[in-house]
Every structure is written in C-alpha cells, then in structure tokens.
C-alpha cells in the first residue's frame, strides 16, 4: 500500500516545488465572482427598469368606457331638416347635447340643475363628440333611433376607476368630486361603466385628451421610416462593404475611409439631425416633419453600423473559400456573389436588424427635423407630416395628466416589444442560416 503511494507521489508534498497552484485557483475564483457579480448587477438594473415600466404602464392597455343609450334625436342633430341639401350640416351638429341628454336620463338628474349636469357631462370624454359625429355621418339613417354607444370616460374618471387618484385628498383639490364618484359606483354596478381592452392606444393618433390618444399614427410613421432605412441602407451598406472588403486596393485612401466610417458610427445622433435639417429640408426643400426626411436621416445614421457589421461578416469568411472559387476560374464578382456573400449573409442580416432596431429607438435627430408634431391623422405617404414612436413617448412624457403618465409607460412597453421581436428575429436568422465550414 505504502509502496504504491510512494511510486505515485515520489516526493512528499513538502518537498514539491511551490508553483502557486493555490494562488492561481484563488485568482480564478475571484475573477468568476466578479463576473457573476457584474451579471447580477446588470440583471438587477434590467429588472428595476422593466418593473417600473410595466407596473406603471400595464394599466394603459385598459380603458374605462361608459355605455349609454344615445337617442339620435332629429330635433338636436338636424332641427331644420336640411341634411339632404347640405350634408355638411351633420358635421357641426350639437352632438354633446345628445350625450348630456342620455346622461341626464340615465343618472336621473334634473336638467335644470346646471352644476349637476356639468359634473355629469365631465365624466364623458370630449372625444364623444367626434365619435357620435362619425356614426351619424357614416350612416344618417340612425337619426331618430336610439343606440347603445360605448363612450370613452374622461381621463380623470378613467384614472379614478383604475384607483390611481388619491381619494384621501380634500374634494376641492382633487380632479374627481364626490358626486362623480357616487355616480361611478352606481354606473359600475349597473354595468354601464366598465373597463375594457384599450384598442385606442394602438390605433389613435395624437390628442390633447389622454383617453383618446394613441400610438397608431406614430407607429405608422416609424414603419415608413424603417422601410426607407431598409430599402436604402441595406443595399448601399452591403455594396460599400463588398467594394471596400473585396475590391478596393488597400492604400491610404481606403484606410482613411475605414477610419471615417468607424468615426461616423460614433457621431452623436443629434448631429445627423442637424445634417438632415440643413441638407434635406433647407437645401433640398423636402417637407418638414415628413417620414421621408426622418428615414433619410436614420439611413445616414444606420449606414456605418451596417457597413461595419457587413465587413466583419465578410472578413470572417475563410480565405480558403475564396481561393477555391478563384482556383476554379470564378471571376471576383462570381466569387463574392456565389460564395462569400451567402456565407456572410447571417452576419449582414444581424447587423441590419440591430441597425434598424437602433434607428427605431432613435429620437434626437427626429426632433431637429420637426417630427415632434401633433399629428392626428394617419400619414397617407412618407411625404406627409408624421411622428415616430419614441418621439410620441417623449411628447407624452411632457404631459401632466395622470392618464398620460400611464400611456407613456404603455408606449414604452410597446416599443420594447418591437425591439425585442426584432432582436429575436436577428438571433433566429443567425441560427437558421449559420453554416459551418
């Protein structure tokens, strides 16, 4: 037994050289601990960020509505019966009166008590006017009938219904008075007042009334810009990278170009906004606030990212593949398009999607080209005024009402979902097309 032990360890442990094994393992353990700590800190901040946004924003996806039997009385909408001759009359009829009448009836208020009536009508969003108008204009036959219509509750009632207003505060200092709270309770019990999924936040445009505002218009503006960036930046970026990487002679000039591309990637985005303002708007005379200009500016901003990613992907293609193609008599062009580019494609796509995601979240340059605009209607083309998702968030963040605060966070959640989807897409594409050699 002892013989075996001595043969395996010919010298006693004390006699062995100290080569610092313990120190080395200790150093490794310390380094691992630092790494784990760094990741934990990162995760903590990510969690705090997501928690704040989600906890503040999830309520934005619900909206309080008040469903009232609206009587489309002819004597209110069109007392002189001139709608056949003059359809424009329907546009300017006194629709709020219909709401008032319905409320007075439902709540059983004395119509002569002006203060009470005012309190009641304040519960319904002023957007009810356009809502009823649209119903009547779309179908004038409803005049003279009674329909149950879901009207948006006003922003303050919505906040109160979601429990976001502090009811401990003295009545005169709070936005919702006791009378309204009592009504809310009865209406809620009758099923007239209810919380529903908020489709308006996805489809509506800008509005000064939080309950009627949404990101629809901004999302369309962002979509236009993304398409412009994709259509311009991808081919230009890939062509530039292929030329620089495969065809251009390596000399001072190409070195200079390379350094400058890397510099451009680090230029603050607001500088691109100034560039866009002076070149596209002031010099080329393109329209202000248009998705076209925004898309062009974001293209300039995204190009360096795409070029750097594409060049890295091209560099990663092994030179043996190039030799193989050239050795068979392929021209340089055939070598690039048949072999190198397909192998580099996952890298190119990943770079493009990350560049697009970056551009989607960009705000500063858009402020300078006038995309901080109050746009109510969907832009029919990239030439029309529009705004962008992050700009919409910026504008809502500047508003005071409680209902805008939750919408700000709600819009952030939507933007984050877009970004996560895009980045996941990048990862999946990479997995799918990655080839080994």
């Amino acid at each position: 037994m002892t013989e075996i032990a001595t043969s395996v360890f010919p010298r006693s442990p004390a006699a062995r050289r100290d080569i610092g094994i313990k120190r080395r393992y200790a150093a490794e353990r310390r380094f691992r601990a630092y790494g784990v700590a760094a990741i934990l800190i990162g995760l903590l901040f990510l969690f705090v960020l997501l928690w704040t946004v989600v906890s503040k924003g999830y309520t934005a996806f619900q909206q309080t509505t008040i469903t009232l039997p609206i009587e489309f009385a002819e004597k209110v909408i069109d007392p002189k019966n001139e709608r056949a001759a003059n359809p424009a009359k329907l546009m300017s009829a006194n629709y709020p009166l219909l709401v008032r009448d319905a409320l007075v009836k439902t709540l059983g208020i004395d119509p002569a008590n002006r203060a009470e009536v005012k309190k009641a009508t304040d519960m319904v969003s002023a957007s009810a006017r356009t809502q009823l108008r649209d119903i009547v204009v779309a179908n004038p036959a409803v005049i003279g009938t009674t329909l149950n219509v879901s009207l948006l509750a006003s922003g303050d009632i919505d906040s109160a219904n979601k429990g976001q207003i502090n009811l401990e505060v003295e009545e005169s200092k709070r936005k919702v008075n006791d009378r309204q709270l009592a009504w809310m309770k009865t209406l809620s019990e009758d099923g007239v007042l209810s919380k529903e999924f908020n489709t308006g936040i996805f489809t509506s445009g800008a509005s000064s009334r939080p309950e009627a505002s949404g990101i629809g218009v901004a999302a369309l503006g962002s979509l236009y810009m993304m398409l412009i960036v994709l259509v311009l930046a991808l081919p230009i970026g890939v062509a530039a990278s292929i030329y620089l990487e495969e065809f251009a002679p390596k000399n001072r000039l190409t070195d200079l170009i390379e350094v400058n591309i890397n510099n451009l990637a680090a230029v603050p985005s607001i500088v691109y906004g100034l560039l866009g303002l002076s070149i596209f708007i002031n010099f080329a005379g393109m329209p202000r606030s248009a998705a076209l200009v925004g898309g062009l500016v974001l293209t300039l901003m995204t190009l360096p990212t795409i070029i750097i990613a594409t060049r890295a992907a091209l560099k990663a293609v092994p030179p043996s593949i190039r030799s193989a193609a050239l050795g068979l008599g392929a021209s340089k062009m055939q070598m690039v398009f048949h072999h190198v580019l397909p192998l580099a494609a996952p890298g190119v796509l990943t770079g493009t999607i990350i560049g697009l995601a970056h551009a989607l979240g960009e705000t500063a340059p858009l402020l300078l080209i006038g995309m901080v605009a109050f746009v109510v209607d969907y832009p029919g083309s990239p030439m029309e005024p529009s705004t962008a998702l992050p700009v919409q968030i910026y504008m809502w963040a500047n508003e005071a009402e409680r209902a805008f605060v939750e919408r700000t966070s709600g819009a952030i959640i939507i933007l984050l979902i877009f970004l996560v989807v895009m980045n996941l897409g990048a990862i999946l594409l990479r997995r799918r097309f990655e080839r080994r050699w």
Partner: protein, 271 residues
Amino acid sequence: MNIMTEAAVEKALDQKMNTVSHKMVGKDVSVYYGEKRALFDVNLNVRENTVTALIGPSGCGKSTFLRTLNRMNDTIESCRVTGRITLDEDDIYDPSIDVVELRARVGMVFQKPNPFPKSIYENVAYGPKIHGLARTKAEFDQIVETSLQKAGLWNEAKDRLHEPGTGLSGGQQQRLCIARAVAVSPEVILMDEPCSALDPIATAKVEELIHELRANYTIVIVTHSMQQAARVSQRTAMFHLGNLVEENDTDKMFTNPDDQRTQDYIMGRFG
C-alpha cells in the same frame, strides 16, 4: 473505361514520353512580394502528362512558383512576377490572356481541403456551371459522375450527392476538391501539398489517384514528403532559398543527384 488498367496507363504514357513536349515553360521567373524577392530567375519546364514534384525546405519558393502557374499570386496585392511563363506557347502573363480562362485550363488543389459549404453535387457542378460547360440537368449529372469517378469518390458519394461536402472525411474532402478541379476539364492540375492534412490511408488513396490522373492531365505537385515525391512523380525539381537547385528525372534525383544540396536535403542533412 474511366480507370485505365495499370498496363494501359504505362503504355499510353510511354508513347507520350518518347516525344517530350513541354506543357508549360517558365523562363527567368522572378517573384517579388513588395521589396522582398521570393524567386530568382527560375527556369523550369513542365512536361505534358507527367507528374512534376516540387520539393525543398519551407520558404524555398516552391509554392510561390506553383501559384505563378495559374496566377493565383494575382490575388496578393504586393506580389509582382517578372519573366515569362507559357502554356502551350501562350504567355500567361500577356494582357490578352484572361485570368479566368487561364484558371479554367490550369486548375488547382489546395493544401487544406476546401470544399464549398454546399452539397457534393453543387461542389462538382459549380465549375462547369460558371464556364458554361453543361446546359441540361443530364449533362451536369454526367459531368458530376465522371468527375467523381476520376477522383475515386463516386462509390462513396453516389448515395449522398446532395449532402454537404463539408460532411465528408478529410481525405474524401480532398478527393472532392480534386473532382471539382477535374470537372472543368483543365489541362494542368496544380497541387499544393494536397496530402499534408491527411492521414496515411487517405494519402495513399490520393497518391494513387494522382498516378491515374497523369494519363489525361499534366500535374505539378508541391510536397514536403520525399517519399511522396519519389512515389508519384516522374520529374522532380528542388528549390532552395528561391533558387531552382536542380531539375531531373525523379529516379535520378533520388539516387544520384547532380547537386550536392539536393543530396543533402534528400538525405535529411538540412531542411
């Protein structure tokens, strides 16, 4: 028909050998990488239907010379070639010669097997496709089959033609690369240490293949293995420090070389 019997090969070769014809002729070939000169006035002729082995210690210029024969050095920016290299009397560095056409006539097999990350079929069919050697599916099928047969890979690969070429073993990959080079029907095949990444069994197969290919192609092979040079080649050229030391029949080279340096190198006294 594709794989000639040993005797038939020897007979055909003997007939050709009687009339020595030079497929490629290098005259005063010098190569510079920037300021550095890598080859010094090399005069070397490549005989038709002969395997010519280029031997010599690392960095002696044998690979550089090989790559001048199909202008693969063109891809290195700082590289400059002087002198004259002809293929069937045409100067291959003449501006009127197109490098793409040259490489279709002078194919190359590299040190490391480098199949395209595509199917075996596509690997072989790629050359004929870009050079327009085949039009119909049947023609391509025919070229792929004969090329793989010539490379001795048909039996192993016929059931997996549409699987990736990178999934083959190292030796099979190298034979696939040879099939790919053969598919464009070149006149000369250059091989740059084709067996250095292969095990002895795969090496033996490739050497056997080289022996068979000699009937139809002119082959120039760079090798670090003296035994390999002795086994596969009929002519051997020894390079040292950018100079051509000696060029001779392989039998004579390995038994009774004219130059002392060749003898020393073959005997393993330097290198």
